[in-house]
Symmetry: C2
Subunit: 200 residues, 2 copies
DNA sequence: TGTTTTTTTTACCATTTGGTCAAAGCAAGG
DNA sequence: CCTTGCTTTGACCAAATGGTAAAAAAAACA
């Protein structure tokens, strides 16, 4: 076998799924291999048969998530209607906060601590994409199709407002009116916010 | 002595200052008593002479910060001009992100992990203040002095956008145009954002 | 079925870490 | 100087934790 058998694939993804659970809840240092292994339904030495160590699990998990995470921004389409493109982007980001809160918190945890295990990765893929899209936003502003403002801060504000609902879920849940769908009302609020902000 | 001598006060605050450094950078589990003690210029047993344990240091640190942290929201004045009050609040929050990024990241870390050591505290002080201020915002909206929207999400969005600059500093720094004052431009961007959003 | 290869487990190790303890240092009053 | 009470430290401990080694178990193959 070449190390990619069906069993291997199944176990590797079971480990990564378990690692997402555990790392996102306790952070890198707070998570233990025993916890992850147990959540993946195997023993610690067995987990270490599939990954060379704790950090390797964490790093691969992060790397596999970056793509998924940046996809909505990648889809911001230069040929579409500016306002609709941005509204769609915001809607997708809120949806991701709802459907993948663990992934969001995993990133948040890593970045809050200074991204010690993601530094180079961030500065490549992410920076390239960020520069491309801020340039696009600038162009739209130059053409008068959306209101003029700092495009970098515009993206920051979208990230902040949308990811907040996943990253600070504990606080949100505590403070929100019970009985309402937080993500539904958040989507409406943010849609209105960005329409008001961006309409020239 | 009654346990509050000058030496005691000096050492306790040295410990808390060191703990802020270390906890905000590595999280609760990632920080070690040795690190904190060493940063405070003393030995670990000496630190444990002043605090009963690691968690006690962490909890007291958090409790002492909550007050400082909520102060700007407390100052939202029912008798002031609504728009100016909110602009002042946003400006103060940005300023706090700039001047107390460690405090911000300490909270972020705790909340991202589900606030396991702050639950009850949050649900009391914070919730009470939050409800009071959303009621105030609602009143202002009823009176037609600011645009109508969900007041809870309005506060969430202010927290998200302002604290983002402290909590995600690593990312912000990596992506921002070098040579510009991030906090200065952020303050301008957010001022403009909330003026546009809130003007009836 | 017998052999080889992959997978899993049991037992273990070294280090880290939160915390204890008893002894030593030290300031203040007598 | 000597006692008394507060402060600091060096030595130590038990538990947790990342990781290893070798053998058992299970598949895969011939």
């Amino acid at each position: 076998m070449d190390g990619n058998s069906r069993v291997q694939k199944r176990n590797r993804s079971a480990i990564l799924a378990a690692a997402l659970d555990v790392f996102s809840q306790h952070g890198y240092r707070g998570a233990t291999l025993d916890q992850i292994a147990s959540a993946a339904g195997m023993s610690k030495p067995n987990l270490l048969y599939y990954f060379p160590g704790k950090e390797a699990v964490f790093v691969q998990l992060l790397h596999e998530l970056v793509d998924k995470w940046l996809e909505p921004l990648r889809q911001l389409n230069a040929d579409g209607d500016p306002l609709e493109e941005i509204r769609t982007y915001v809607r997708r980001k809120v949806q991701m906060s709802q459907e993948m809160p663990q992934e969001s918190r995993l990133f948040a945890n890593e970045i809050v601590q200074g991204a010690p295990r993601m530094g180079t990765y961030l500065s490549q893929d992410l920076k390239e994409l960020f520069d491309e899209k801020t340039a696009l936003l600038s162009k739209w502003m130059d053409e008068g199709r959306i209101a003029r403002m700092d495009p970098q801060h515009l993206i920051f504000s979208i990230w902040a407002t949308t990811q907040h609902y996943a990253d600070f879920e504990a606080q949100i849940h505590l403070l929100s009116d019970p009985g309402t769908d937080v993500f539904q009302s958040a989507a409406e609020f943010l849609d209105n916010l960005y329409v008001r902000l961006l309409t020239p």
